[in-house]
Amino acid sequence: MTDVLDVRDLTRTYRSGDRDLTVLQSVTFRIAAGTTSAIVGPSGSGKTTLLGLCAGLDRTSAGTVILDGRPLEHLSEDERALLRRELVGFVFQNFQLIPTLSAVENVAVPLELRGESGARERAAELLDRVGLGDRLDHYPVQLSGGEQQRVGLARAFIHRPKILFADEPTGNLDADTGAAVEDLLFELNRETGTTLVLVTHDIDLAGRCGRMIRLRAGAVVEDTAAPAERD
């Protein structure tokens, strides 16, 4: 199996005042295509930072992130954006739908960015698939949190990304709604065969993934993957 994501010796430090704050310290792991992984750890342990770096939203201080065979550190901001367009899907804790776009338009954005035709039809199909077929033209403010996150899932999957990052996708939802969104996430994942990397506090959710990477104070303290897979 090939690796979609290869993280080596990843370190991220932030300057706060005149001190350097190390948020991630020599993080190393590889993620094989089609697998599901959960990143867990206490608040402030660097999960979001790690996810952002893996998706090329931020620059590393040291180490490498290789996404689908391409080392991100040599790419410019825009080149990384083009890479995301092709490979990456994103689900946000606070949904991050664009308030001025209707549900169907929000879902269509990744396809439109790629210049594909029929974006609206595919978006409508997918919204129907997530149970929002009758809410196509509603704006985010007109949707409940659970509904918004379902739109978010549709948007993340529409271009069949090779890898999908989700940062506490159910963190802002109540238990029942969260469970429903979870189910949908894994269903869509199975259907598309996407590699899934999700960050969560929820041990049950983490348990549904094939692998669990535990962070503490910016370092990997546990990784349930087979030793061969680990490196």
Partner: protein, 833 residues
């Protein structure tokens, strides 16, 4: 394509507000296109009416009657001819008893050859020439409520008023206000006895040639041919006149252009700050787009496109409004230009305005929009923001600022037409805006510094709103302040000038000057004044002369040295005492010495390059007179009193052609009017100027200038109001939310309302104060350096302005925030969650 679609979708929910911002640009473009249209119209008008400016192709003018040589030359020229003699003289309207210093013109021939005398009734313009009739300036008739058919006494002759004179080709309303023209037939000139020894007369010969001869060349030849026999003459052609008028128009143009320029810049700054606030709300959406794979360039293009469309809509609306404004403009400048200006909105000007507006909007929006390009996608996953600009972006930002400044310069260049003026324009406006911003900043700073902590919660909260993030306090203070500044500066300067003039005629100061008194009339006039129980403060002879040679070198071979001082007419006197208004600054006062000496005013001596002991030769109406410069004097000109550049020792000029000037004082306007009436009856050639006349004339002229400045200020104030409305609505959502929160926590609607009131009152007061403070400075500068009078601000008016500006701000502000305090809190909080 995607960018286009995204730009459209992304503007949802913001369109109304964005449109509001476009009106800031619209106002500037309206001003600009209207003014551009006007300047085209003026240029065309001048070109079309060129020959009408003079009413003839050629005009020969002299202060002395034409010589026989000149007359012979005129006869040989052919074409159509007319003659005119002009003199300033008192006229009397016997029915009302009113008298007024007027410009009497005796006309022979069918002048004007081009254009027409406009009169009411229209036939009077021709018919008055047939009998003992006069065509009298309408303003003069209105002043004394005289009617057509009444009579008017000019010199010794009483004419029937044939009609009201409404316009003379080539003459401006401002000019006819100062010296109302009275036209009479040439045949009666001699009988009026206005043409006397020593009085100031202009003789004119006017020509129209219907062949295609080179008039410019002819003018040169005439000047050359008559240089001996008639050294005094001036030859003027329609083209000379047109060129001179062209200069006036360019000045007017530049003045008006400045108004459009400032309004447009204010609008552009408004758009820039609006975009800044807008972008900040959009950064999260941008971050999401970027994490979904949109490039920085794509994101930037989405918003540039929005800004461009915004500019396009704004400028199109502005161009349309400008066409409407254009139609009202001719009335505004009519008084300063001869003839009529016909305006018609043109597509070219509109397109020009639209492209200017769109580019300026884009240029000024670009800088805040750069934030979109460098927005980090990280914003999508956490609320922290990367404030650090990348090096590349810093270069871009600098480039954009330079581009915007360059755009402003190019605009100025277009309006001013000359690079140096454009630079002055741009730099001047920048300095003015910076000064305004600086004083606004200082004022705001001191409010913050001395923040009244003891005030009620509501008041403090209202004041604190001035510093809320993304506030537009500074911009509002600058634009509202600028409008206040323009109007107030002008008013202050006007007030100073008028105060100065009325104070000139204060207690015991002379306030009536009688001139053109013939030598044999002096005793009679003196008695008449004394009979009226008015003092004779001064009675001095006046002799007109020119400079013939300096140190024996004739003026003609002196070249341009001395310039105006060398060629001007000197109205001199002779006496043995220094006057009150004079002080000796060099040499010895000639007193009663018998040696022929002249005392020169120090400034003129310097210009001529002569000093004590040098010899000067004057040409006293044909007779050479050589004297020694005996002394130099300084003169206080700020009196209603004849003052002289040259004062001769007694015994030199007694025999020269001369007239006399008498200075007196009448305490009441009635007494002054009565004196003038008696005088006109008995000595019709004697003219009078009194303080009332000067005051009225100056006031009139300043009023007309004021109308122009008010027009410019209007655009600035309008932009300020629009920016105010727009910024109120921009922060509306935030306010609604705050209001809901406050009310959830227990504040009453009334308290919320009062907070808004305090905020706008403070904003308006600060803006007004900024403008007025600067206006005091500007008015002081104008009074001191331009008008050279004591600074006398109209405090009551300024206090009034300090009330009106905040009131306007409160009105607009509260109107924009209406309903903010009434939205049910629950609804708001749900939306926010």
């Amino acid at each position: 394509m995607w960018v286009l679609r995204m730009a459209w979708r992304d503007s949802r929910g913001f369109r109304q507000r964005l449109l509001l911002y476009t009106s800031a640009i619209a106002i500037g473009i309206a001003a600009l296109t209207a003014l551009r249209g006007l300047s085209h119209a003026m240029e065309e008008g001048v070109a079309q009416q060129a020959s009408e400016l003079l009413g003839a192709d050629l005009e020969v003018e002299s202060d002395l009657p034409f010589s026989a040589t000149a007359e012979a030359l005129f006869d040989s020229l052919g074409g159509r001819r007319a003659r005119m003699v002009e003199t300033l003289s008192m006229v009397l309207l016997p029915e009302s008893g009113g008298t007024r210093l007027s410009e009497v013109r005796a006309i022979r021939g069918n002048w004007p050859f081009y254009g027409e005398l406009r009169s009411d009734p229209p036939t009077a313009a021709l018919s008055f020439r047939q009998g003992r009739e006069a065509l009298v300036d309408n303003g003069l008739l209105l002043q004394y409520e005289a009617e057509v058919g009444d009579s008017i006494k000019v010199g010794r002759v009483t004419f029937r008023i044939a009609g009201r004179l409404l316009g003379i080709p080539g003459e401006t309303a401002v000019r006819t206000d100062v010296r109302p023209p009275v036209l009479i037939p040439y045949e009666y000139l001699a009988q009026t006895e206005l043409v006397q020894y020593g009085s100031r007369i202009e003789y004119k010969a006017l020509f129209r040639f219907d062949d295609d001869r080179d008039v410019q060349d002819l003018a040169e030849r005439i000047k050359e041919r008559l240089s001996r026999s008639d050294p005094d003459i001036d030859v003027d052609t329609a083209r000379d006149r047109q060129q001179r008028l062209g200069r006036t128009i360019r000045n007017l143009d530049r003045f008006l252009g400045l108004g459009g320029f400032i309004a447009l810049l204010l609008g552009a700054v408004g758009v820039a700050s609006a975009i800044h606030a807008y972008v900040e709300q959009k950064l999260e959406s941008v971050a999401v787009l970027r994490s979904l794979g949109a490039t920085g360039g794509q994101a930037l293009r989405i918003y540039l496109l929005q800004a461009g469309v915004l500019g396009l809509i704004g400028s199109t609306a502005g161009a349309i409004a400008g066409a409407a404004v254009l139609l009202t403009l001719p009335a505004l400048i009519a008084d300063f230009l001869p003839g009529t200006v016909r305006v018609s909105p043109s597509l070219g000007t509109a397109l020009e305005g639209i492209s200017i507006g769109t580019s300026i909007a884009l240029l000024f929006a670009a800088r805040p929009l750069l934030a979109v390009r460098s927005a980090s996608p990280l914003l999508a996953i956490r609320a922290s923001y990367e404030s650090g600009l990348r090096a590349g972006d810093r270069v871009w930002r600098g480039l954009v600022v330079v581009l915007a400044a360059g755009g402003a310069y190019l605009l100025a260049r277009l309006l001013a037409g000359r690079p140096d003026h454009a630079l002055f324009f741009t730099a001047g406006t920048a300095v003015a805006l910076m000064l305004l911003a600086l004083s606004a900043h200082l004022l705001r700073g001191s409010v913050r510094r001395f923040f009244p902590r003891s005030l009620s919660y509501v008041t403090r909260q209202g004041l604190a709103n001035l510093y809320r993030p993304h506030n537009q306090t500074l911009l509002l203070m600058v634009s509202l302040g600028l409008g206040t500044f323009l109007v107030a500066t002008l008013y202050t300067a006007q007030n100073s000038v008028l105060a100065h003039i009325s104070q000139l005629g204060g207690e015991a100061q002379p306030n009536v000057v009688l001139f053109d008194i013939q030598s044999d009339q002096t005793e009679g006039v003196r008695q008449l004044v004394q009979q009226m129980e008015m003092p004779v403060l001064q009675l001095v002879p006046v002799v007109s002369m020119h400079i013939g040679a300096i140190g024996g070198v004739p003026v003609d071979s002196l070249g341009d040295q001395g310039g105006w001082a060398l060629r001007r007419e000197y109205r001199s006197t002779y006496r043995s005492e220094l006057a009150d208004s004079e002080a000796l600054v060099g040499g010895t006062w000639h007193g009663d010495t018998v040696q022929a000496a002249v005392s020169l005013e120090a400034g003129v001596a310097q210009r001529l390059g002569v000093s004590v002991g040098d010899s000067l030769t004057f040409d006293v109406q044909g007779m050479p007179l050589t004297v020694v410069v005996g002394s130099l004097r300084s003169v206080d000109w700020q009196r209603i009193m004849p003052n002289f550049l040259c004062v001769f020792s007694p015994g030199v000029l007694e025999a020269a052609p001369q007239f006399h000037v008498l200075v007196t004082r009448g305490d009441s306007p009635e007494a002054r009017a009565l004196l003038q009436r008696r005088l006109v009856e008995k000595y019709p050639n004697v003219s009078a100027i009194d303080l009332d006349l000067i005051l009225r004339t100056v006031d009139d002229i300043l009023d007309r200038v004021a109308a122009l400045v008010r027009f410019m200020a209007l655009f600035s104030v309008a932009t300020g109001v629009v920016v105010l409305i727009a910024s109120v609505s921009a922060s509306r959502f935030q306010r609604v939310r705050e209001s809901a929160l406050l009310r959830t926590l227990g504040a009453s609607q009334q308290q919320v309302q009062r907070m808004l009131l305090v905020e706008y009152a403070a904003l308006g007061t600060l803006a007004g104060l900024t403008g007025l403070l600067l206006a005091l400075g500007g008015g002081w500068g104008l009074a001191r350096f331009v008008f050279e009078v004591t600074f006398a601000p109209a405090w009551d008016w300024l206090a009034g302005a300090l009330l009106v500006v905040p009131l306007l701000t409160i009105l607009v502000g509260l109107f924009g925030s209406r309903g903010v305090a009434r939205v049910p809190p629950l609804e708001v909080l749900r939306r926010a969650g």
